[in-house]
Symmetry: C2
Subunit: 357 residues, 2 copies
């Protein structure tokens, strides 16, 4: 039996902590080793480094552990080893399927390395109380995923000596490492597509103006358009949300010089734009209006949208983030780096397709 | 400064653990109290029970802590207090926006209670290695959210003395507590709507046949239809996914006695059904085919779908799950209970709307 702890919900709201406990006699790894007929180090390996025990041994050890009610104590081990194997994962926008996907990939990859994700849902207005909470768990590292999260959190963790990596954004600080998609190149691919399809009146919908992802996508889009002698004729800010995208689409589509093609800095704004174009302006997609998004999230593939979008490779992004966080530190402090993952345009029916050859 | 721990990524793949550490002299809460001019217990309150310190005091303490680089050690505290304030949260299907939403709500509510979510992404094929990992962190409780997760995990945690609550499913075991929506009643509301709108050829699309949510929705739908003298004339299994829903929709819509209205056991299958009906069968929604889903997830509200759906109150579900998990335990073991949260039909344009009075 592991510890049996009853937690009184009221205890969390008062200083009068009242925990009743029952402590069955604890079995240890020696007991399990004896019953399974293996060495103590084999038991330890099965529980901390499963990959290096044979399936047969693993099963025998697990069966013995089950029988004895044994489970190792990662918390106690963390104190003796001076690491917790906990990685703080701070997310901001789980209603965006792109971030839900990133979280899923990060979670799976941490588990594969026998690390655990300590999840924090960031409410931008409550970041200050979140910081000490994250730090108090002595996490081995922090991953911050979200275009809109303040960089204060990152700097505070970094100054507490905890490695930090940002995913899908970077800061001006040269202290903080980041993993981002190659937003300049990805947006450039959309510009090239629009130019090649012959669109001339072109709109751009920004996310949050302060987010590096939005700024880089706008920059990459504009410079590649310029290569083709084109420019952005309408620009609105959609704040990366469905609601903001709908408002921005209305503003863009009621102009007398309505764009023929709009590039939105994420898929949520792009699907909102398609919805507003169809329902409020009676426009056909792509005949009357071409729309492209960014992220190639699950929304983009839905048949009602068939959205041309730029794929950010979430698997590679998550891998790069973990690698950066867990990299061997040879010097006192590894230099911060911005890792850029190649992005790839995925063409669908929301932009005019080339006729088949 | 907190501990500065460098973790070598290679260490996780070998038994040769190699951790280099630098241990700056640690400041403690006494130092912070002295600098802030408050008592040590006030410092402790700010860090563990923020709500009970004034904003002014809180700010002074945080500023002093910042200046000294102090952060409390939740891990060490957990050993002395015999609780970790960690709640294991096991999720299975983050690609379903309903579960991403549930996770977000649970995360926020745990943080408000100064508890942290230890997130595990369940891969059904790797559940056995996940179990000892979750247990090793001595979590104070486990929340399992996902229709398709095996109940083995729940029973294993329970037998290790760790309270467990399932969200959105229950098991036959009377040992495991659950929080579910009132699926029988919610599905009954869809049946009533279909009957009142005059639909006669009615289809039902099941999720995973073994999931309690799918079974209860089918049961509630059929018994309420029977009250109106109706029955299900076509039934397919869509496995709760977009792909499964598309396959099931094709099978249902190519029948000579094609349904006039289909109730799908979740929104993902319902949106897939709308997509297939429009693109492959050239059907208008709702004139040729009415479609209703379940969950009232973000998909349902999108203008391209405008899906009539049954709202599961994720906020109430998350609250009930935490309350169940953290309830004061007066006896040796609280009896397991199944908490049902009322569900509410949300009517949109995917079913025929009543004319305005």
């Amino acid at each position: 039996m592991c510890r049996l702890v009853f937690v009184d919900a009221r205890a969390y709201n008062s200083t009068n902590i009242n925990i009743r406990k029952s402590m069955p006699s604890r079995t240890n790894s020696n007991d399990v080793a004896r019953l399974a007929g293996v060495s103590r180090s084999t038991v330890s390996r099965v529980f901390t480094d499963g990959a290096y025990a044979s399936a047969e041994t693993s099963e025998r050890v697990m069966k013995a552990a089950d029988q004895l009610g044994y489970c190792p104590n990662a918390i106690a081990r963390s104190l003796s080893m001076n690491r917790t194997s906990l990685i703080g994962v701070i997310v901001g926008e789980l209603d965006n399927p792109f971030y839900a996907d990133i979280l899923q990939v990060i979670g799976v990859k941490l588990q594969q390395r026998r690390l655990a994700s300590l999840l924090f849902v960031a409410n931008p207005s409550a970041m200050d109380t979140l910081i000490p909470q994250v730090l108090s768990y002595r996490v081995d590292g922090v991953i911050i995923s979200g275009a809109t999260l303040s960089s204060k959190m990152a700097l505070r963790c970094q100054s507490a000596g905890i490695p930090v990596v940002l995913v899908n954004r970077y800061t001006d600080s040269d202290l903080i490492s980041s993993v981002v998609g190659d937003n300049v190149d990805g947006a450039g691919q959309v510009a090239r597509l629009f130019a090649e399809r012959g669109y001339r009146r072109i709109g751009f919908m920004a996310g949050l103006p302060e987010a590096s992802s939005s700024r880089d996508r706008e920059h990459g889009f504009r410079i590649k358009l310029a290569d083709f002698g084109l420019s952005v004729s309408a620009r609105e800010v959609g704040s990366f949300t469905l609601e903001g995208g709908a408002r921005a689409a209305r503003a863009m589509l009621c102009r007398p010089d309505r764009p023929e093609a709009v590039f939105c800095a994420n898929d949520m704004m792009a699907t909102a734009t398609i919805d507003i174009a169809r329902t409020e302006f009676n426009l056909r997609i792509p005949e009357d209006l071409a729309v492209a998004g960014y992220d190639n999230s699950s929304l983009a593939g839905m048949l009602a949208y068939q959205l041309t979008s730029v794929d950010q490779n979430t698997t590679l992004m998550a891998e790069a983030a973990l690698e950066n966080l867990l990299q061997p530190s040879l010097g006192a402090k590894p230099p911060a780096q911005v890792v850029r993952i190649p992005s790839k345009l995925v063409e669908r029916a929301s932009t005019t397709l080339l006729a088949a050859n």
